[in-house]
């Protein structure tokens, strides 16, 4: 079998050529399935809805992940210490608690996550006009986007004060030239957005099975009232008007169906989600199967506060002690706060008294950093709440968080009214009456004292002090510096290569 050499040559060349002909097209690999391209997405209502959920996702910043709003704000108030395992456990909280907070200790996510929400809202707002879908639904999506965007701006402006106002997508050419806006302009935009959104939203959520957690007119109106209350250009009258519409007759059922729960402690029963007192509620679930890998990433749906305020190495030796799940001992109450709440009817629902349990020999626990023995009962995790679904149980607590509840709007309205008058008195009385306390003459000081007890551990106290100009005095012993610590430092990374200017005195 002798062939000519040339035949071999052609044979081999043939192989060469046949393969060489797989040209450039072979380099164009299909994008992986499951990762859509932006240019092909937002084609229908279902896709638009996922875009809307991505905006709602940011609400978890209140109570999800390690750097969550509520434990942070608690740490900076006079009611709590930062706590945790040691002086270095959670540098953000620790430094806020002792007022050494700086641009390098402020967790960047408090800035970044809210802007992520704003970006997602702006993205959907830009895409919505071209998405073929039901017009009413489209209007509702749009209203939710601008209301959420307003809320994110509100959190940013009240924390950092000098922040960029982002109401559209930023072109590539302007990425590094964005500047901070005047706070007044930001408040104006927030109020405009909320007012506009209010009327396009459902009056209240009727399909609760499917839609609980989405925002209604009542939610946004309460938020608008709150924003007016914070607005530095004194819009307290407007605040009172909006909040009155939310509150209705003190102690009664409002037009939105809001009503104080008759039993204060029922507010902290996990199954009481979306109860009649709840106005702006952050939902959590134990079905997110969150693991350490995705904790704080947006795909986690657990309530982190539970784990954070749980007690380190808690072991009960007596069955009469509560069956708490262990945690990390953050946000212990100060002794001073204990002294003022110990006789209040809300004490048992507010404070987990580890000190007394330990003294009775019913439990042992590790005395964490700044341990006082008094922990935050409202969010104290029970073993029975510990998720046994996938992921890590400690990251999948399902307790919802009420960011605004009716008692809050009552007291905010009373405050907006200047703390005087019959309506202010009635609002205060309704809050006190619910826990069986008698009426006392209303005043701003009394309202603030009431708020401190009513909302202990819910993240309101620090803002209450700052908003009413009391922070410098009350927090002086913590190291609060007037003219500096009323707002947070802007995270260091935001200043690198940008036009962003650090807040005064940081």
């Amino acid at each position: 079998m002798k062939l000519k050499n040339s035949s071999y040559l052609f044979f081999v060349l043939g192989i060469l050529l046949s393969v060489t002909s797989c040209s450039d097209e072979t380099l164009n690999v299909e994008p992986p399935k499951g990762t859509p391209l932006e240019e092909n997405y937002y084609q229908n209502e279902a896709e638009a809805y996922t875009g809307l959920i991505a905006v709602y996702d940011i609400l978890n910043k209140q109570s999800g992940g390690f750097d969550n709003f509520i434990t942070m704000l608690n740490a900076g108030s006079d009611d709590h210490y930062a706590g945790g395992g040691s002086a270095t456990d959670g540098a953000g909280m620790q430094s806020f608690s002792n007022y050494t907070i700086s641009s390098s200790t402020i967790p960047t996510s408090f800035w970044r996550h809210y802007y992520q929400g704003i970006f997602r809202a702006n993205t959907l707002l830009e895409k919505l006009p071209n998405i073929p879908m039901d017009a009413a639904k489209k209007a509702r999506f749009r209203a939710e986007c601008i209301a959420l965007r307003a809320y994110f701006h509100f959190e940013l402006v009240r924390c950092f004060k000098n922040v960029p106002l982002i109401t559209s997508l930023i072109p590539a050419s302007e990425i590094y030239s964005v500047k901070q806006a005047q706070p007044e302009a930001i408040y104006a935009q927030i109020e405009k957005d909320l007012a506009e959104a209010m009327d396009a939203l459902p009056f209240k959520i009727t399909n609760t099975t499917e839609e609980s957690g989405r925002w209604s007119k009542g939610t946004v109106q309460a938020l608008l009232g709150k924003v007016y209350l914070y607005d530095p250009s004194n819009k307290k009258a407007l605040a009172a008007t909006e909040l009155a519409a939310v509150n209705g007759t003190p102690g009664g059922i409002s037009q939105y169906g809001y009503k104080l729960l008759s039993n204060f402690s029922d507010l902290w029963v996990i199954s009481n989600k979306f109860n009649s007192e709840s106005i702006l509620e952050i939902s959590h679930t134990d079905q997110g199967n969150t693991g350490w890998g995705n904790w704080g990433s947006g795909s986690d749906e657990g309530n982190s506060i539970n784990q954070m305020v749980g007690i380190r190495n808690y072991n009960r030796s007596s069955f009469s002690a509560p069956d708490y799940a262990a945690g990390w001992s953050f946000n212990p109450f100060t002794d001073a706060f204990y002294d003022i709440i110990k006789t209040d009817p809300r004490f048992a629902a507010t404070v987990a008294d580890l000190k007394s349990l330990e003294a009775q020999g019913k439990i042992t626990y590790e005395h964490g950093y700044q341990d006082t023995g008094y922990y935050l009962k409202k969010f104290m995790p029970m073993k029975s709440d510990f998720s046994t679904n996938g992921g890590n149980g400690e990251l999948n607590y399902k307790q919802n968080i009420m960011v605004i509840r009716l008692a809050d709007t009552y007291l905010m309205e009373a405050e907006a009214l200047g703390g005087t008058g019959a309506r202010a008195q009635a609002l205060l009385d309704a809050v006190r009456a619910r826990v069986g306390l008698p009426t006392i003459p209303v005043s701003i000081d009394i309202i603030l004292a009431e708020r401190r007890l009513e909302f202990a551990g819910e993240g309101h106290r620090w803002f209450d002090l700052v908003r009413t100009g009391r922070a410098a005095k009350v927090l002086a012993s913590r190291g609060f510096i007037a003219g500096k610590n009323e707002i947070w430092p802007i995270p260091l990374k935001e200043l690198e290569n940008t036009q962003i200017v650090q807040n005064p005195n940081y």
Partner: protein
């Protein structure tokens, strides 16, 4: 086995076939080597008869030949010998090995070259350098043996990979060299399947002039691995076996219970807290957690058998290997097992066609636990747990009370629970209990890597070759997590059983044509080629079943009829990566004196957008063998000298897929409605960057090779390597609101240094001495990070510290340590009060005597983050290795050591947020009063001066070390004693690994890849005995 037998029979029958010839005389004889061993399969060419025969298995031959003709005997690797017959009927031949130095062949990618004419910078390790060394992973065979390559084991756990860096940190992203095994590109994660005994040679292409033939993926270096092939003729059977025991080389010195209690009290008292241990002495020595987990006699066993041989037409190499290795830490959950089979063969199909193939298969089983992690686990727990908690609680009243009455508390064989610490909880757990939860867990992988080629040589010198290579890997793991209770913060109430299965596949086709021709001393070799590479054809699935009706891993099974609600599953597919390439190379030399090499390669990658799919990578290099010049007088000092230099450009596409597109990402979920089920959210990820392109590395290399004083071989290379347009995810300002960061070509890095290799070989009387030394020096500097950007945010994090530990900044080494600088300790309040700024206020108002004085580097009168400075580099300046071989009669001794100097290690072993965590004994030297210490501060629980929470030079230690990696003493039985058994070699040896380490570092092990020690699994000290037998 049957197949192999058949295979061997075929070859043997070929060997014995002798061609008969008429009319001439019969000539017989024996062919032997220098030592008198017979050489079967040698070719005997009868001059004037254009025919040949081969020697039989005993080295005998018999042929008919013209009475006045001549015989030429040749055998691969030996010099040919000719004899005139002159009427003789018996002629014996003795063949002498060809000189290795002159003929050394180096694999250069798509071919081989004589070492003497190479113009690039290539370091090799050959099989003979590694023979008989019980090396378990291929990277270790390079460590300390080649210059310009830094290697550090990632862990001392059996089967662990190593960090490999060729000439420094080339990029900010991927710095893994390209591994090419017999022409098949495998990622570095996939080289663990190789069996060291199968390796013929490892070549490291270090400069661009030699790397450029691999173009787009070669910038971080190329490592070519060639597996053994059979040799025509002599069949060889070889067995190597070894066994021995490992023990920890070093333990940390931790406080004992009394010391711990004392220091804990002191620390609490300093923070005005009640003391916990009123009577420290009552605790005695307490528990040594390290002793509980370290194994002083971890077993290791290896067997390798190979059979190779063949004839003029076909050769084969078959091998089987197995390795069993136990870890020295928590041996029950730390071990490695590997089984290998390899079959390589070549076949000359006809005069023109040659077919060859290689195929390796391995099965690996890996049992291990995570280490170098401050968040718990066996090692971290042993370091952080208090010594007061007992290993096992034997007091029956305590053993049945809280917390030991919780479900999931593990007990020893006597029914006593493993001690649970009251003081140190969180992720830290009793390591003996921790081990119980990992029993039965393992990871596995099956790897098939092979290639096949067809080569045609239609006219002499012209070769066409088509090669197809593929790598198929199956890998996964099985794990069972029982119900456990380590402490109340760390427990699991529902058991689960998980299994995962992944498949990865990659293949490539390469076609080359080469032509070699010599015209009047002008020698040319031209190569052109084309390649198509596809990899990451990957998918995988995993499943977890919860709540099985069992308590032990022994009963774990997926067959329990678990309800759907308790089953979780996942699956994924990877995205393919495709590269298309065209390449060519020209080698030219004149009289092997003037040498020229030119390479150009063009690569297209699926990782880039249409405007930048293709990149071109040229290189050019020259060599001049000065010692071949007429004017070069033969002298005793410089016997040979070659100068060479080259310049070239290589690339890297080592970045994620589809980074040039704007994609939508999931996981932005929220819970809507009352069912509690999660609603999925999607939104755009990072903005796209359609202009992404290759990062390019250009390298200039100048060097020489020389033989000096007859016995010394010296090679020296100077290089300057600049990477530009490094692909990097850039962190956008937060107000943009993107999730994830886009990639861009930013950053330039410069690596420069030298590589030096010196070899010595001498026979002095009955002594054969060989020594090799190598030294590499490297300087790494970031030269550009984008307009107006002086440093990159981020860097390695450390526990809960707000400050990144490392920073990449222009003018500095990549990822240098960045932190505060201590300036002694305040000995008294007066010193605190004296440390003031110009306005008279205290620079450290929170400080007390015993606290660090921090350097106020920016001079603003306060200690802020701006006072941080560069405090050290994790990269060594010098890496070096030293090998010494001495043979004396039947004895041989090998000593091999390697080390590094100039790097720093950040020792972050202690958990800062666990106030009760134990300390190392260095804490005994803490400040306790004026004049007691100027380096270790006072202990306090709240640490108001951030003595411990500030990353600072306090945590840095010199990483310099020199380690005697191997000492081996062997004895080969005299040939006369083993000949009758058909053996050609029988050797026994004793090996000691890591017996001595010289270092000042106080951690487990200075040989760590990353520079931050969070509790690395330490390297073991091992003593092995072994046996080599050859037939």
């Amino acid at each position: 086995m049957k197949l192999t037998k058949l295979f061997m029979l075929c070859f043997l029958s070929l060997l014995f076939s002798v061609y008969g010839q008429a009319q001439d005389i019969v000539v017989k004889g024996k062919i032997v080597d220098e030592k008198g061993f017979s050489i079967p399969g040698a070719t005997i060419l009868i001059k004037g008869a254009t025919k040949s025969t081969v020697s039989n298995i005993d080295g005998d031959y018999e042929t008919k030949a013209p009475r006045n003709g001549s015989l030429t005997v040749s055998y691969i690797g030996y010099n040919s010998v000719s004899e005139n017959i002159s009427g003789r009927t018996k002629i014996d031949f003795k063949l002498v090995l060809t000189s290795q130095e002159l003929q050394e062949i180096v694999v250069v990618g798509y071919g081989t070259q004589k070492k003497s004419v190479i113009t690039g910078s290539i370091s090799s390790v050959k099989a003979k350098d590694l023979e008989d060394l019980p090396i378990t992973r291929i990277e270790q065979s390079l460590q300390g043996r080649v210059s310009g390559v830094f290697i550090a084991a990632n862990s001392g756990a059996p089967g662990s990979s190593s960090t490999v860096r060729v000439r420094g940190i080339t990029s900010l992203g991927n710095n893994e060299p390209l591994w090419v095994i017999d022409g098949v590109i495998v990622d570095s994660g996939g080289i663990g399947f190789l069996n060291q005994s199968d390796i013929e040679s490892v070549e490291v292409l270090k400069d661009a002039a030699s790397q450029a033939i691999y173009g787009a993926r070669s910038a971080a270096g190329v490592i070519l691995i060639t597996t053994k092939k059979g040799k025509a003729g002599k069949m060889s059977v070889s067995y190597t076996g070894y066994t021995g025991f490992s023990s920890p080389a070093r333990k940390l010195k931790m406080l004992n219970a009394t010391e711990y209690a004392t220091l804990n009290n002191e620390s609490r008292a300093a923070s005005n807290l009640d003391i916990q241990f009123p009577n420290p002495e009552s605790y005695g020595v307490g528990t040594n957690w390290q002793d509980a987990i370290f194994n002083k006699s971890a077993f290791r066993l290896g067997h390798d058998v190979s059979i190779s041989g063949g004839n003029e037409k076909s050769t084969f190499y078959v091998s089987f290997g197995m390795l069993d290795q136990e870890g020295i830490v928590a041996t029950d959950v730390s071990s490695y097992n590997r089984k290998n089979i390899r079959l390589n063969s070549t076949h000359k199909i006809s005069k023109i066609f040659t077919f060859g193939q290689t195929l390796g298969y391995s099965r690996e089983k890996n049992i291990g636990f995570g280490s170098n992690n401050e968040f718990g686990g066996v090692l971290s727990s042993a370091i952080n747990l208090d010594p007061i908690t007992p290993l096992v609680e034997t007091d029956p009243t305590k053993a049945n009370a809280s917390p030991y009455n919780n479900a999931g508390v593990f007990r020893d064989s006597h029914g006593n629970p493993y001690g649970i610490s009251r003081y140190v909880a969180q992720e830290m757990s009793n390591p003996l209990a921790n081990m119980q939860t990992m029993l039965g867990n393992y990871g596995w992988s099956d790897n098939f890597v092979g290639n096949a080629y067809l080569e045609a040589e239609p006219i002499k010198g012209l070769k066409f070759r088509s090669t197809m290579g593929a790598k198929l890997a199956y890998y996964g793991g099985e794990s069972f997590t029982p119900v456990f209770f380590f402490n109340s913060s760390n427990s699991n109430s529902i058991n689960n059983l998980s299994s995962s299965n992944n498949r990865g596949f990659g293949w490539n086709i390469e076609n080359t044509a080469s032509y070699a021709k010599s015209i009047f001393n002008h020698n040319f070799t031209v190569l052109i080629g084309q390649g198509h590479y596809v990899d990451n054809i990957t998918n995988g699935k995993g499943v977890t079943y919860r709540n099985l009706p069992i308590t032990s891993y022994k009963d774990a099974s997926f067959n329990y009829g678990t309800p759907q609600a308790d089953i979780d599953g996942y699956a994924y597919v990877g995205s393919e990566r495709v590269v298309n390439s065209y390449f060519s190379r020209l080698n030219y030399d004149f009289k092997e004196k003037y040498l020229v090499t030119g390479i150009i390669r063009r690569d297209g990658s699926s990782r880039f957008g249409s405007n930048n799919k293709y990149g071109t990578f040229p290189s050019f290099s020259l060599g001049w063998v000065v010692s071949k010049e007429e004017f070069w007088k033969e002298n005793k000092f410089v016997n040979q000298l070659k100068l060479r230099g080259g310049y070239g450009v290589t690339g890297s596409d080592a970045i994620g897929d589809f980074k040039y597109l704007s994609t939508i990402g999931g996981g932005r979920n929220y819970t809507v409605g009352t069912s509690g089920s999660v609603t999925v959210g999607f939104s755009p990820n990072a903005p796209s960057n359609p202009d992404l392109k290759w990062e390019e590395t250009s390298q200039l290399n100048i060097g020489f090779e020389a033989r000096l004083f007859q016995d010394f071989n010296l090679s020296f290379d100077l290089y300057n390597k600049k990477t530009t347009g490094i692909l990097q995810d850039i962190e956008l300002p937060g107000y943009l609101g993107s999730t994830g960061n886009p990639s861009a070509n930013i950053a330039d890095i410069l690596n420069k240094g030298f590589d030096l290799e010196l070899g010595y070989k001498k026979k002095i009387g009955a002594f054969n001495i060989a020594a090799n030394a190598n030294v590499s020096y490297l300087q790494n500097e970031v030269t550009f990070l984008g307009n107006g950007i002086t440093f990159l945010s981020g860097g390695a994090g450390y526990q809960a510290s707000t400050y990144p530990l490392t920073r990449t900044q222009v003018g500095q080494t990549v990822n240098s340590f960045y932190g505060f600088q201590t300036d002694g300790i305040f000995q008294n309040q007066a010193e605190v009060n004296a440390y003031t700024n110009p306005t008279g206020s205290l620079i450290q108002p929170n400080a007390a005597p015993g606290d660090f004085r921090w350097k106020d580097n920016d001079g603003d009168g306060a200690i802020t983050e701006k006072d941080r400075a560069f405090i050290g580099s994790p990269l060594p300046d010098y890496t070096f290795g030293l090998t010494l071989n001495i043979e004396y009669k039947g004895f041989d001794v090998l000593a091999f050591g390697q080390g590094v100097t100039g790097n720093k290690i950040f020792q972050g072993l202690r958990r800062l947020d666990i106030a009760n965590a134990n300390y190392q004994t260095t804490a005994l030297g803490r400040w306790t009063g004026e004049g007691t210490s100027n380096t270790f501060p006072r202990l306090t629980n709240n640490d108001p001066n951030n003595n411990f929470s500030n990353p600072s030079n306090f945590y840095l230690q010199d990483g310099d070390y020199f380690r005697i990696k191997t000492i081996q003493v062997g004895y080969s039985l005299p040939v006369t004693a083993i000949e009758h058994a058909g053996m050609s070699r029988a050797r026994i040896y004793v090996t000691g690994e890591n017996l001595f380490t010289f270092t000042k570092y106080t951690g487990f092990d200075p040989e760590i890849g990353g520079g931050i020690d969070k509790g690395y699994y330490p390297q073991a000290k091992t003593v092995l005995v072994g046996l080599n037998v050859q037939f």
